[in-house]
Symmetry: none
Subunit: 202 residues, 4 copies
Amino acid sequence: MARPTVDQVRRRELIQATMTAIHRAGLADPTVAAICKYAGLASVSIVNHYFKSKQDLLECTMRELAGDFLGEVALRAGSTHTPMDRVFAVIDANFAPSQCTPEAVSSWLWFWSRTPSCSVFADIEHATHHHIITELKRGLTELLPAKEVGDAAESLMALMYGMWLRFALNPQILDVEAARRITRHNFLLRLQAAAAKSMPAA
Amino acid sequence: MARPTVDQVRRRELIQATMTAIHRAGLADPTVAAICKYAGLASVSIVNHYFKSKQDLLECTMRELAGDFLGEVALRAGSTHTPMDRVFAVIDANFAPSQCTPEAVSSWLWFWSRTPSCSVFADIEHATHHHIITELKRGLTELLPAKEVGDAAESLMALMYGMWLRFALNPQILDVEAARRITRHNFLLRLQAAAAKSMPAA
Amino acid sequence: MARPTVDQVRRRELIQATMTAIHRAGLADPTVAAICKYAGLASVSIVNHYFKSKQDLLECTMRELAGDFLGEVALRAGSTHTPMDRVFAVIDANFAPSQCTPEAVSSWLWFWSRTPSCSVFADIEHATHHHIITELKRGLTELLPAKEVGDAAESLMALMYGMWLRFALNPQILDVEAARRITRHNFLLRLQAAAAKSMPAA
Amino acid sequence: MARPTVDQVRRRELIQATMTAIHRAGLADPTVAAICKYAGLASVSIVNHYFKSKQDLLECTMRELAGDFLGEVALRAGSTHTPMDRVFAVIDANFAPSQCTPEAVSSWLWFWSRTPSCSVFADIEHATHHHIITELKRGLTELLPAKEVGDAAESLMALMYGMWLRFALNPQILDVEAARRITRHNFLLRLQAAAAKSMPAA
DNA sequence: GATGAATGAGGGTTCATTCAT
DNA sequence: TATGAATGAACCCTCATTCAT
C-alpha cells in the first residue's frame, strides 16, 4: 500500500488549515497568512511550493471536502437493501462527523456562497449536488408517488441545509444528533402522510 | 407627514446598494467602491458623509434588513385570529418579497456568517431571532403538545433557513412560492401527525 | 472710530480658532474642520468666504500673531528712557499675556517649524526677528562692549525661546512670571559681569 | 561580537530616514512615502516588514534618539571628577554632534510637540528629562546655594532648549560651538555671581 | 525545500476644495 | 451669506505573489 509522501501530508495539512481559517474568519476570505498560521508554518511563501496559488489551494480544499462527502454517501449507500435505508444513508452522510465539524460546515457555506462568482466552485457544487440528489431520488421513487418525489427531495435537502446553517450559527442550540433526528422524523412524517393518502379506505 | 430628506433617500440607496454588493461579491466583504458603483455614485468618499464608516453602513444595512423582517411579521401577525394563522404569518413573513430577493437572502447569509466575529451583528441577530421564535412558539403552543413545540419551531426555522439557502444558491431551481408551499405543507404534516397520535382511539 | 465689520469679526474668530486648533493638534497641521469647530461654525465651507484658502488663513493667523508681538514691543519701548528699560521692554513684550497663552506659544512653535518649508512664513519670521533683535541691540549697545552685543542678544533671545519651549511643553513647571524673572536675572548677571570686567581696579 | 543583521541595519536606516523626513517636512507628520524615499526604498510596503506600523516606527525613532542622548550624557559624566565637570558634561552632551544635526534637533522638537497628544511619547520624554535634570542638579548642588539649584537648572535647560530652537530655525546664524560656548559662559556667570554674593565681606 | 525580503495592487479613510442651492 | 453635497488626491495599511538566498 502506497505510503503518503511528505508532499501529500503537507498538502493535507494546508487544506485542513484552510478550512480552519475560513471558519475563524467568519466566512470572509481567509488570508494565506492565516492559513499558514493554522498549519503551523513559519513562512507564507511555502504555500506556493505545494499549490499553484491561493486560488488553487482553495479549489483543492473544496474538492477534498466534496469528495469526502461523496465518500460518506457511497460508504453508507453501498450496503443498503431497502429504499428507506437508502434515504437514511443520504441523511446520515449529511450528518457524518467529517461533514459536521464547525470547520467543515463553515467551509461548505463559504464554498456555496462563492459559487455564483467562481465557475470552478460552481462546477464542483453542481456535480456534488447532482450526485446526491440523484441518490436521494432513487430511494424516494420507490416510496412516494412520482409527482411528490421532486418536492420531497428538495424539502429534505433544504431541511438538511437549514440544519447545517443553524448548526453553523450556533452549535449550542442544535447538536448533530438532534439535527439528524429531526430530519429523519420529518422524512417519516411525509412518508406516513403519503401512505395515509394512498390508503384512505383502510 | 414628514417628507424624506435627501439625506434619508441617499442613505436608503446606499443601504440597498450594500445588499447588492454583498450579493454580487458572493458573500465576501463588499468593497466601498463596489457599493458606490451599485448606488450610482461617482466618488467613494461620499459614503462618509452619510455614514460614519464602512462598518457603520454595514450595521445600518443589517438593522434595516432585520427591521423590515420584523415589520413583515408584525404586519401579518397583527390581524390573525387562529393559532394556525399565526404560524402561517411567520412563515409568510419569512417568504415575503422584501425578504426573498436574492440580495436580501445573500445579505442575511452574509450577516449571519459575520455574527461570530462582530458583536454588534450578533446582538441584532439575537434580538431578531428571539422575537421571531417567540412569535412562532406562541402559535405552536396551542397546536402541539408542549414537548414538541421546541423541536417543531427549530424544524420550521431550519427548513426556512434551508429554503433560503437553496434559493440563494440557485433561484432557478426553487421559486419563493414553492418554498412557501413546501414549508406550509411540512408544517401541516407535523400537525396531522400530532393530531393522529393524540386521538388514536378515534 | 471705525467699527469692525461683521467680516472682520468673523475673520478674527477664525484666526483665534486656528491658534486653538494648532495647540490642540499638538503642533500637527490643523484641519479646517477642527478650526471651524473651535470657531463654533457649523460648516467648513464658510471659511472660503473669508479666506482664499486654508493656507491663506494660516498666513493671516501668523501675520496677526507677529503683528501683535511687534505691537507689544512698540507699546513698551515707546515710553522708555534708559537703555536698560529698553531691554526690559523687549523681555517683557516676549512674556506679555497675549504672547504667552498656550495657544499663542504653540502657534509660534508651529509657525517657526514651518518656516523652512514655507517661504511666506520665513519672510514673516525674518521681518519680525529682525525688528526685535534690532530693538534689543539698540539697548544692549549702550550697556555692553561692542563685541559682546551680538552674543548677548543671541543669548537673551535663545533663553526666551527656551523659556517659551519649556512653557509650551509643560506650563505646570514654569509660569510666565518665573520665566520673565529668570530672563531678567540672567541679563543682569551678564551686565554685572561686564561691569566687573570693565572696572577691575574698582 | 554579534554582527548586526540585515534586519537591524535596515531598521536603523529607516529610523535615520524618519528623522530626515521629519526635518524636511518642517515638523509636520512625516509620510511613510517620504521616509521610504529618504531611506532609498522603492516600495512603501516594506516598512511593515520591519515595523509594526508607522506609529511603531516613530516610537522606535524617538526611543533611539532619547537613548543616544542618554548615552552621550553617560559617556561624558562617567569620567568626571569635579561638580563643574559634571555640569559641563551635561551641557556638552546636549551639544554633542549626534544631538545637533538639523535632523536630530527637528526630531526632538517634533517629538516634544507630540507629547501632549501621545502618551507613549510623553513617557519617553518624561523619563529622559528626569534623568538629565537629575544629573544636572547633582552637579549644581555642590556649586550653588540649595535654593538656587532649581532655578539654575531650569535656566540652563531653557537656554539649551532655546539654543536648539535657534539652531533648528537657522543653522547659519548659530553654530553648535557658539551655542555651547554661550551656554557654558552663561553658567559661569551665574557661578561667579553666587560666589560674589556668598563672600561679600571678602 | 524553506525563508524572508521586496513589490505592487487595492482598500478604507481623511481632508481641502468646489459647486449648487 | 451660509450650508451640505460631491469630488479627487493623498495616506496608511493589508495582502498575494515573486525573487534571491
